[in-house]
């Protein structure tokens, strides 16, 4: 396998972008089912552009939830992207207010995972931009397709899409669990902890909230040891 890191980064970014971008069809269909017009569904994908929050919003509306609950669900899941921004800032270093505002729009799960997984800073920017552009383009196009043809997507095609999404997240997680990754054993414990807490909370909290709660719970559980390790580094 002799491929340049740049080509590999680009291929992974576009590959993930295509897989995730196509899932916009499911969002468009869900939005239509919740009573949004195709234009409203497309506006969400253009303006909000963060899948989990979009699904949360239409999910609450579809379940009969009110405006405040729908927006609150979307914002709660959107706080994830604030944490990502903090992580991405030293990698991407956008210069000037306009570039910062443009970069912010593409700060989502997938672009963050792509950027932090890249072996060096230049490749992190490439992965972020290529993944962001691919996802943004396809996510919006397929949102419109899904909203216009909600009923046209067969159950088999939907089952395939449903299976691709967790596989894509696993593929992103995988390298962090391998022996070569820094502190792979701790990464494995953290990943398993996140999964267990999220599953345990699923029956009891609003849909989508368990993901954020799992991240917070794992962060709190690891905090004393991390503080000690940080103190050692500083010493």
């Amino acid at each position: 396998m002799s491929r340049s890191p740049r080509a590999a980064t680009l291929r992974d970014a576009v590959g993930l972008g295509v897989a995730v971008g196509l899932y916009g069809t499911a969002f468009g269909a869900a939005a239509a089912a919740a009573g949004l017009s195709p234009l409203q569904a497309l506006t969400m994908s253009l303006l909000m552009f963060t899948g989990a929050s979009q699904f949360a919003l239409v999910g609450v509306l579809g379940a009969g939830g009110g405006a405040v609950a729908a927006v609150a669900g979307a914002l709660l899941l959107g706080t994830r992207n604030t944490v990502y921004g903090v992580r991405l800032l030293p990698l991407l270093r956008p210069r000037g207010a306009w570039r910062r505002m443009a970069t912010a729009h593409w700060v989502i799960d997938e672009t963050t995972a792509l950027a932090v997984s890249a072996p060096e800073r230049a490749l992190a920017r490439l992965a972020f931009t290529a993944g962001g552009a691919t996802i943004f383009t396809l996510w919006n196009a397929t949102t419109l397709v899904g909203a216009l043809g909600a009923a046209a997507l067969g159950t088999t095609a939907r089952a395939a899409l449903d299976a691709v999404v967790p596989a894509a997240f696993l593929a992103l997680l995988w390298p962090r669990l391998q022996p070569g990754f820094p502190e792979a054993a701790a990464q494995r414990r953290v990943a398993l902890g996140g999964a267990v807490v999220a599953l345990a909370l699923t029956p009891f909290v609003p849909a989508g909230v368990q993901v954020v709660a799992a991240v917070v719970a794992v962060a709190l559980a690891g905090r004393p040891r991390r503080a000690a390790a940080a103190a050692e580094e500083a010493a």
Binding site: M48, L61, A74, A167, L172, L173, R176, G194
Partner: protein, 105 residues
């Protein structure tokens, strides 16, 4: 809900989520460079991806469910262990999910 109210929800949610993203890129560098911040954030992706894998593969609304998504996930794990390319992993998982849907349909 009226069309006007739906537009209000769509726009409020969209602008709010964008401002949350912008906030992350706008905090002072000194705040970001604190050791405990970088330390915590170093592990957020693993916790988040672990939670997302579990929730996307094994839940539906408030229930734990086992369907084609779990089969797809197992196939994906096997493909990853065999070092299959990313896109192949996704195609195999999708095919497995579709197959289970057809067989159990």
């Amino acid at each position: 809900m009226s069309s006007g109210a739906l537009w209000a929800v769509v726009l409020a949610g969209g602008v709010g989520c964008y401002l949350l993203k912008l906030a992350g890129l706008s905090v002072p560098a000194a705040w970001v460079q604190r050791p405990w911040v970088t330390r915590v954030v170093e592990f957020v992706p693993a916790a988040l991806l672990g939670a997302l894998v579990a929730v996307q593969a094994a839940t539906s609304a408030h229930h734990l469910v086992a369907d084609g998504r779990l089969v797809g996930l197992a196939v994906a794990a096997l493909a990853l262990a065999l070092r299959a390319p990313f896109i192949v992993v996704l195609v195999l998982a999708g095919a497995a999910g579709a197959l289970v849907a057809v067989l159990t349909g």
